[in-house]
Amino acid sequence: MAKITFDGIEVEVEDGTTILQAARKIGGSVVPPAMCYYTPLKGSGGKCRVCLVKVTQGSAKDSRPMPKLVASCITPVQDGMVVENTTNEDVLNARKGIVEMLLINHPLDCPICDQAGECDLQDLSYEHGVSATRYEEERRKFNKIDLGPYIQLHMTRCILCYRCVYTADQITPNRVHGVLGRGDAAEIGTYIENVIDNDFSGNVIDVCPVGALTDKTWRFKNRVWFTKPMDAHRDCPTCSGKVTLWTRGEEVLRVTARKDQYNEVEEFICNTCRFDKKETKDWTIEGPRHIERNSVISANHYELPVLNVPIVPNLPSSTKKKLPQQ
């Protein structure tokens, strides 16, 4: 076991745990955001750099600070490590800089984007972004790539988190899409007009933190905050059959996997559950789904609003500090 101090809060975790997971054990507002890291996917993380934190003491044995900010999602804890996240101005400034980088080529088409309301990038920019842009160059454009009947790719919205690549590698029998090109010309695509077609391909939609991969059977049907999330299950021969239905009245508009407070799926689901079972009679409904993270949906009124109450009661006041808005 290793004991670390994160933003002044002590927490004890297993050896080999990452700093991010240790922070999630504390919970609340001290948890660094993560755009590319995804707990169920092995090898993910380290790419988006929004989870950077400052390690002011490497370990109990070696009290030197780490020279650079480190990505908390991939850096394992050491016993006696002291980490600063929201208490460190440098970290907040760096994060603000990275959010700006993520947004300069993002089309900001939230009003017509199906992900709006449950988009990690949207939440992140509310918290750490600025209201104006300094970028006056032309934004990046891509040729359209058709991924098949179920999945719509909007490459302009992609932040290259590689989550969908890892999903296809680890969940589906064979991966036909990947990252082509390099630098800011890098894009998600399939090699020579391939169609993503297998029983679990729909999961790439769930793992996508932005609106780059969306569900074609749900596109433009409704805004996510007008729908009611319901936990439901069915006997499925291919997957666990435990899903969240997004309903409006009697209609099932969309089926997704159940996601936790960090927007990470609990169990991946198959395409039959996701795309074909769009009627309430297909499902046994368990009750309303508790949405914790996405501010817009959790503010919905069918359930009590979820306040951002930290699990540790006596947070130091400095952790609540926010950067002044520009």
Partner: protein, 448 residues
């Protein structure tokens, strides 16, 4: 002329053949190391020599070797990084082209020291002709029993392979190089784990520059202590410098570390002064990624001491008034060179070469390039200069690999030292876009 360790026989006709190379004392270190020394003794000698990595970072080679994990039953690898693609650097290419056997000798001795039975030379894909020279030399070495099973009857086996890259600068970063060598997309890995623990094919691996490896035979032959006597302070030994730009004698020079920079630029023995007797404007002393220094700061440090060609002296003053030795690409600019244009050119390179894996570098390099392009082509605004400084700061230190830093430093340093020139470009766009237009300290002196 000082002592020559790497290039002593470089101009001997036929030195690329095994026969001539052996006649000039080649492969002595292999015999000495394999027959009379234990691997640890070789590592000790390299440690004593104080040899520092010649690829850019300047990390002590012996130290790097001693970090190599040695678990039972797992192979270890030595990989030679010959993916030399930094703008301005051409020393390794020249060296491998002329004396391929020097590198092979170094590879055998170093692999023996590290206990590696398979080693790789990862060569830049554009250098296909050098690859063929190396392949030929390796075939000769195999035929002479210097590679393969039971080398020179010592019981030590070594297989040496040459692998070409696919034309990406990022594959010169050691973990991207290993990914590429494994046949994957050349994206740098997250560290830790470091290659010394988990490198090529998840085995402990050492990645060294061509020049570092080629220095090992001399150290084995003459002893590490002898090598440590050459050079100055902690910058021991000799170093190859690829000199380019507006100088009378561009080319590759091997010098003992510690030669004054002023002497290096103006002496007929080395660069031979500025072309056409013009004035020195600036120098990039270690390849395009290190900070640029104006003429007054390259010859003297901020404290007024003579700047020397050594790791310590070139980085004296940190990033405020110093630079880095880097990979030894000495790029000289005369008074007619436009710093803005040059900075844009560098930014364009890093924009093109960013792997696109992590967001600050992927987005930031493109942003800097576009802003610099605008300034250079007469569409800049006054706030663009501060914007560039701020973007460079947002990239620096926040990326997975050092390419982000390498992209940020030249821009940040050019603005630090040549801010007036950037301002002139923005205030006088019409003059600045004329061909050959250069800021000379006063308003608009234009020579077409």
């Amino acid at each position: 002329m000082g002592i020559k360790i790497l290039t002593e026989h470089i101009n001997v006709p036929g030195i690329e053949t095994l026969e001539v190379y052996r006649k000039h004392g080649g492969y002595r270190s292999v015999e000495k190391a394999l027959k009379t020394m234990s691997p640890d003794e070789v590592v000790e000698e390299v440690k004593t020599s104080g040899l520092r990595g010649r690829g850019g970072a300047g990390f002590p080679t012996g130290m790097k070797w001693s970090f190599l994990a040695k678990p039972e039953g797992i192979p270890r690898y030595l990989v030679c990084n010959a993916d030399e693609s930094e703008p301005g650097t051409f020393k390794d290419r020249y060296f491998m082209e002329k004396t391929p056997h020097s590198l092979i000798e170094g590879m055998i001795t170093s692999s023996y020291a590290l206990g590696a039975n398979t080693s790789y030379i990862y060569i830049r894909g554009e250098l296909m002709f050098v690859l063929r020279i190396l392949e030929k030399a390796i075939a000769e070495a195999y035929a002479a029993g210097l590679l393969g099973k039971n080398i020179l009857g010592s019981g030590y086996d070594l297989d040496l392979h040459v692998a070409p890259g696919g034309g990406a600068y990022i594959c010169g970063e050691e973990t991207a190089l290993l990914e590429s060598l494994e046949g994957k997309r050349g994206n740098p890995r997250n560290k830790p784990p470091f290659p010394a623990v988990k490198g090529l094919f998840a085995s402990p691996t050492v990645v060294n520059n061509v020049e570092s490896i080629a220095s090992v035979p001399w150290i084995v032959n003459n002893g590490g202590a002898e090598y440590a006597k050459i050079g100055i302070g902690r910058s021991t030994g000799t170093k190859l410098f690829s000199c380019s730009g507006n100088i009378n004698k561009p080319g590759v020079y091997e010098i003992e570390l510690g030669v004054p920079v002023e002497e290096f630029i103006y002496s007929d023995e080395y660069c031979g002064g500025i072309w056409k007797g013009k004035q020195l404007k600036a120098v990039v002393p270690g390849g395009s990624s290190v900070p640029i220094l104006p003429a007054n700061l390259i010859t003297k440090t901020a404290a007024g001491e003579d700047r020397l060609m050594s790791y310590e002296s070139l980085s004296d003053g940190g990033f405020v008034s110093g630079s880095m030795l880097g990979s030894g690409a000495f790029i000289v600019f005369d008074e007619d060179q436009c710093i803005v244009r040059n900075t844009w050119n560098y930014a364009r390179f890093y924009h093109h070469e960013s792997c696109g894996q992590c967001s600050p570098c992927r987005e930031g390099t493109g942003w800097m390039e576009k802003v610099l392009h605008r300034i250079e082509h007469g569409h800049g605004h006054q706030q663009d200069i501060d914007l560039l400084v701020s973007v460079a700061k947002q990239i620096e230190g926040n990326t997975i690999c050092p390419l982000g830093d390498a992209a940020a430093w030249p821009v940040a340093s050019a603005i630090r030292h040549f801010r007036e020139e950037f301002e002139w470009h923005i205030k006088h766009p019409k003059e600045a876009i004329l061909p050959g237009a250069v800021y000379r300290g006063q308003l608009a002196t234009i020579e077409a």
